[in-house]
């Protein structure tokens, strides 16, 4: 696991919202589901789409890609429905003193 990076103020991402952040060349998506934060690679594993623009399904704790509708589990990054079949990477995310911090996964793309 790599170093922790400070991303933003926790208030900037209210519940039911998501933000796309570029860490260097890598776009990541930070989600707030009823106060819990999750962080995935922003790019869908199926095609070039931004998960931070999709639809949140709080009950299933999943994000639905806006392009072809694949849902990904926010906790594991695994696809729950087609057409995506590969998972997206999950990054560790924490709230420290009201600030959102992220540690990028070291898994190779």
């Amino acid at each position: 696991m790599s170093d922790w990076i400070q991303i933003c103020d926790g208030q900037a991402i209210p519940p039911g919202h998501a933000a796309r952040v570029e860490v260097g060349e890598l776009p990541i998506a930070v989600f707030n589901v009823d106060g819990e934060f999750y962080c995935l690679d922003d790019t869908c594993s199926h095609a070039m789409a931004s998960l931070s623009e999709g639809e949140l399904h709080p009950r299933e704790c999943a994000i639905e890609c806006p392009l072809h509708g694949s849902q990904f589990d926010l906790r594991s990054g695994e696809p729950i429905s087609l057409p995506a079949v590969e998972p997206v990477r999950v990054h560790q995310v924490e709230l420290r003193g009201g600030e959102v911090w992220v540690a990028l996964s070291e898994e190779e793309l």
């Binding site: 933003c8 919202h17 623009e53 639809e55 392009l67 509708g69 087609l82 079949v85 590969e86």
Partner: protein, 466 residues
């Protein structure tokens, strides 16, 4: 850093009352009101209404595909999305073109069926046949009904699988179907059950047969077998110019599902279909796909080989006569290791007809030990005919054996000469050669269909089919 967060929760209620008053809408065109009306009329649960409305929104936003056949002739505003007024039910027997009537004669189609196929009668009178088959199936625990009934009587199974193979925003026409679907089949085969007789769409009752926006869902539990057949070889008249169906199949471990389609829609129809199957461990899924009619067909049956040891097969035939464009193909996605697939596509273009094969074979990195072979052959019978082949092979694993071959040619002069020198006319000889060309497909059909198809090809060669 400063970030701009987006609200990702969506509300599809559109501010309707939940009251049960609804207005009968027999107008053309698509709107949230029409969709809500469809749902209310069917008495659907709230989740299905939300599903439909969300799909509608996606349909409106999604642009038309930039590839494929020419769809500029479709006028979405002129379509009746649910009910048409009674006086628009069909046509009279006198209006049916002579060529079609002759074909029915030559193919030996029974009287009752003729009126139905020709669009003269709205219902297929098959009660007697249907009832006895239905009893047999019930004994096995097989569920076979239309989807509306399936949703109503088996909501848990339905909700678990519906839309999981083809999500509403998979493509524009899946979105349309998801918004206004009606009819289609719901098939559930319990574990270990073998359904020996092929299930056919005709066996369902109380449906708008051959609806425009059919939705079919087939679930085959572990170790089961089922063969489903839709369509028929005889020319089938449809007043509706747009058919946009969705078929979802889930084959559980060790299950075997075969889905046969023979489509011969009248030449005013745009036939745009999304068909996809998920094949789990050691299961087998076969798409047997015959495209004979319609003005334009866009259809690419696909199989996701998700479980180890699964096998997928697509066997398709496309026949394009004057003014027709059959844009068909197959998609096989190897996700799991030790999976195999075979695709065979045969197409014939006559007159100004055009056939296109579009295929996608993808092997994901974790799918090692994969074998796949694709074979596309096209026969061009006349100077004006056209054929295209657009296969994609994306291979991301090393331990594979992938092969693809395609040929395009005309009927061989030597073959023709040989047959003609034995007293066979050029037309008959061409028919024989074409029948031989599509033989791998025909031999997979139940016998009555095979015979009908052979006869139909012979008729096409004579140019006597209207």
């Amino acid at each position: 850093m400063a970030v701009a967060a987006k609200d990702l929760t969506k509300d599809y209620k559109y501010g309707f009352n939940d009251g049960d008053q609804f207005v009968f809408r027999a107008e053309r065109g698509l709107s949230p009101e029409v969709v809500a009306d469809i749902s209310r009329r069917k008495g659907e649960p709230a989740w299905m209404l939300e599903f439909r409305l969300k799909a509608l929104e996606h349909f409106r936003q999604r642009p038309m595909p930039s590839w494929g056949a020419d769809l500029s002739g479709i006028d979405f505003d002129e379509i009746y999305y649910y009910v048409r007024p009674a006086e628009e039910q069909g046509r009279t027997w006198e209006e049916v073109p002579e060529g079609i009537k002759r074909t029915f004669d030559r193919l030996g189609i029974p009287e009752a069926e003729r009126k139905f196929l020709a669009g003269v009668s709205a219902q297929y009178e098959s009660e007697v046949v249907y009832h006895s088959i239905r009893e047999d199936l019930e004994k096995l625990g097989v569920l076979f009904s239309d989807c509306d009934t399936g949703l109503r009587e088996h909501p848990e199974i339905f909700r678990k699988y519906f839309g999981t193979v083809i999500p509403p925003n998979d493509n524009k026409f899946a979105a349309l179907n998801s918004a206004v679907w009606s009819g289609g089949s719901f098939v559930y085969v319990p574990a270990g059950v073998r359904v020996d007789i092929p299930l056919q769409a005709y066996f369902r009752i109380n449906t708008e047969s051959m609806g425009q926006f059919e939705r079919t869902l087939i679930i085959a539990e572990e170790g089961s077998f089922v063969h489903y057949i839709e369509g028929c070889t005889a020319p089938t008249y449809s007043k509706d110019s747009l058919h946009s169906a969705v078929v979802e199949i889930i084959a559980m471990p060790n299950a075997h599902v075969r889905y046969t389609t023979i489509q011969n829609w009248s030449n005013n129809v745009y036939n745009l279909v999304t068909k996809r199957a998920i094949a789990k461990e050691h299961s087998v899924v076969e798409w047997i796909d015959g495209n004979l009619g319609s003005k334009v067909t866009m259809k690419y049956p696909s199989i996701y080989l998700m479980g180890e040891g699964a096998h997928g097969e697509v066997l398709s035939v496309a026949f394009a006569g004057d003014g027709q464009h059959q844009d068909a193909g197959a998609k096989v996605i190897h996700v799991a290791p030790n999976t195999t697939s075979t695709i065979v596509s045969k197409s014939v273009s006559k007159g100004t007809g055009r056939t296109s094969y579009r295929g996608h074979l993808k092997v994901y990195p974790k799918a090692y030990d994969v074998r796949s072979s694709v074979r596309c052959d096209a026969l061009l019978l006349d100077e004006q005919a056209r054929s295209d082949t657009y296969p994609y092979m994306d291979v991301e694993a090393e331990d594979v054996q992938i092969g693809h071959e395609a040929t395009v040619s005309k009927v061989g002069d030597e073959q023709l000469f040989y047959l003609q020198s034995r007293g066979i006319s050029e037309q008959e000889a061409t028919a024989m050669i074409v029948n031989g060309f599509i033989e791998p497909f025909v031999k997979e059909l139940p016998m009555e269909y095979a015979l009908e198809l052979n006869r139909l090809i012979a008729l096409q060669m004579e140019g006597s089919v209207g």
